[in-house]
């Protein structure tokens, strides 16, 4: 069975090596500061006790107050998996360092996150739109993409047919 290394455990390990690099730790993930992201990821890959040589998935999430990129990493050698995150609070122009120098497998996934969420991966050698065409306006997976009246966010607030407030977007003030 794969051991899922909790965010708190991995944050502790990172902290021992790079003091001041961890921004937050939750049971599901550890958040690393953007400045030290690349060296932390490279250490997680190269250190024989960690050996997270496989980047399973890279994806962005629009958390409304900030953007985050989640790295689901795996170690074949130790059969372990863990999750690292990095955040960017710039709403207009979110930017995080590219993981391509560490895992070339991040290339297409970073292009996807850029295309749909507009996250700029600094240092990615070929950051272009991938599914949408050049000149497409905006980034559709952002929560404010549709610009609903009254600043409403997309998403269901209640189930169809469920009694309660009038059916509207999620996150209304």
């Amino acid at each position: 069975m794969t051991t899922y290394v909790s965010g708190i455990q991995i944050a502790h390990l990172i902290d021992g090596q790079f003091p001041d690099a961890v921004a937050d730790a939750q049971p599901e993930f550890a958040v690393v500061k953007s400045e030290s992201l690349v060296e932390v990821l490279a250490w997680l890959r190269d250190d024989p006790d960690q050996a997270y040589e496989f980047l399973s998935s890279l994806t962005g999430v629009d958390r409304i107050d900030w953007f985050e990129v989640a790295y689901h990493i795996e170690s074949f050698q130790h059969n372990r998996a863990s999750t690292i995150k990095v955040r960017s609070s710039d709403r207009e122009n979110p930017s995080v360092p590219s993981a391509v120098p560490v895992w070339p497998g991040a290339q297409l996934q970073e292009r996807e996150a850029y295309d749909l969420l507009g996250i700029n991966f600094e240092g990615n050698p070929d950051l272009r739109r991938i599914f949408l065409w050049d000149g497409f306006a905006g980034f559709p997976l952002r929560k404010d993409y549709l610009n609903l009246p009254g600043g409403q966010m997309p998403g269901l607030e209640r189930f169809p047919g469920e009694p309660g407030v009038e059916l509207s977007g999620r996150g209304t003030e």
């Binding site: 496989f54 497998g105 297409l108 189930f159």
Partner: protein, 380 residues
């Protein structure tokens, strides 16, 4: 005197039989040699990740059929497992076995297509693929008996499967299991040393184990490069921990090895199916969750009103194409806050450029064929 030629651009696709869908490979050639390869995708982009944010968790299951439409069962399974992980739901044992059986049948159907189409790309035009369709039809018949659909199945539910199999299902499945070994022996005879396939694919598109891991490739492509990694073994889900099977591993990491791995996995899937059908336990096929109701006749249906707690989960399985993962972020509402598909077809395309440069157009077709992409899953 050397003659300098100008680079020449060839578009393979978007409408081309070897791209397995609407996908474009833009090759820059110097004479016959490829000097640059660029992938143009998105022709089948249906913004599933955005659509899923507007629908309930149960309503999202049909989307998972339509990503990898050649392996809808495994798409369903990966998604419901991610939600079950998020909600910490235990699934009844019979449902676990049904899931395993359906996933393995799907793997045989999907690998059959991959092998047939790969032979097509190599130049064994249409004959192998028609043989493969014959087996696949029988598997689709079994799916039709179980859930009424053949391709977009929508069979799995959060907490189990949508319904139990009918009484006639097991005899039919055993009948198929008796037929398949003969067929597989026939394919091995016809294809393994087939000059058309060997000459076109040996030594083409080589990926070393280090390159394969660094480029995040998974599935038969990773195992073809000699890395014995299979999520079914490394992190057993459903009923795989009770079943015995082996991981097929290649040695050279070329297109031929990927093809051989898929043939070998047909045998392994059959072996898993034989055990799973014999061990199938009785009992319910769906966990009763909250407002779940049981229909007359004992069939349970999934609840509509699922509200997972705030949090996130990443569920992954071994789909026929590789590691298929669903990353679900919940804010406690009735629909996912973020719904991301880690699709193996898409990520397995990462090293295409590296593999194609320096080869010829004919080799590039074989390389793309050996990756076995489904464009519905690439573009989502």
């Amino acid at each position: 005197m050397t003659i300098k030629s100008e680079p020449f651009v060839v578009n393979v696709g978007p409408q081309h039989p070897s791209t397995h869908g609407v996908f474009r490979l833009r090759l820059t050639l110097d004479g016959e040699k490829i000097i640059d390869a660029d992938m143009v995708m998105g022709y089948l982009h249906r913004s599933m990740e955005k659509l899923a944010e507007e629908r309930t968790y149960t309503q999202n299951i049909p989307f998972t059929d339509r990503t990898d439409y050649l392996a809808a069962m495994t798409g369903n399974l990966a998604y419901v497992m991610a939600v079950e992980k998020l909600m910490k739901i235990e699934v009844p044992e019979r449902a676990q076995f049904l899931r395993t059986i359906m996933a393995e049948l799907q793997r045989i159907a999907s690998h059959s297509m991959a092998i047939g189409i790969f032979a097509n790309d190599c130049g064994a035009w249409q004959t192998p693929v028609m043989h493969m369709f014959r087996d696949r039809e029988k598997i689709l018949d079994l799916f039709e008996m179980a859930c009424g659909a053949r391709l977009t199945l929508n069979y799995m539910r959060i907490g189990g499967v949508s319904r139990d199999i009918p009484d006639e299902w097991m005899p039919q499945a055993y009948k198929l299991l008796k037929e398949l070994p003969k067929r597989f022996a026939e394919y091995e005879d016809l294809l393994l040393s087939n000059e058309i396939i060997v000459a076109r694919s040996r030594g083409v598109g080589v990926l070393t184990p280090e390159q394969a891991i660094a480029h995040s490739v998974s599935g038969p492509m990773l195992r073809g490069s000699g890395v014995a990694w299979d999520v079914r073994k490394a992190d057993p889900y459903a009923a795989y921990d009770k079943l015995d099977f082996e991981i097929a591993v290649g040695t050279n990491g070329d297109a031929y090895d990927r093809f051989v791995i898929r043939l070998a996995e047909l045998r392994q899937s059959l072996h898993i199916l034989e055990q799973a059908l014999d061990m199938m336990p009785g009992g319910p096929v769906h966990e009763r969750l909250g407002t779940a109701t049981v229909q007359p006749g004992g069939q349970s249906i999934a609840p509509l009103a699922l509200r997972p707690p705030v949090g996130e989960a990443y569920g992954r399985i071994e789909s026929p194409r590789g590691e298929l993962g669903y990353y679900i972020v919940s804010d406690g509402g009735p629909s996912p806050f973020r719904f991301h598909i880690r699709s193996p077809s898409f990520i397995n395309l990462t090293p295409i450029k590296q593999m194609a440069i320096g080869t010829t157009v004919a080799d590039a077709i074989v390389i793309l064929g050996s990756v076995d992409i489904v464009v519905g899953e690439v573009d989502r």
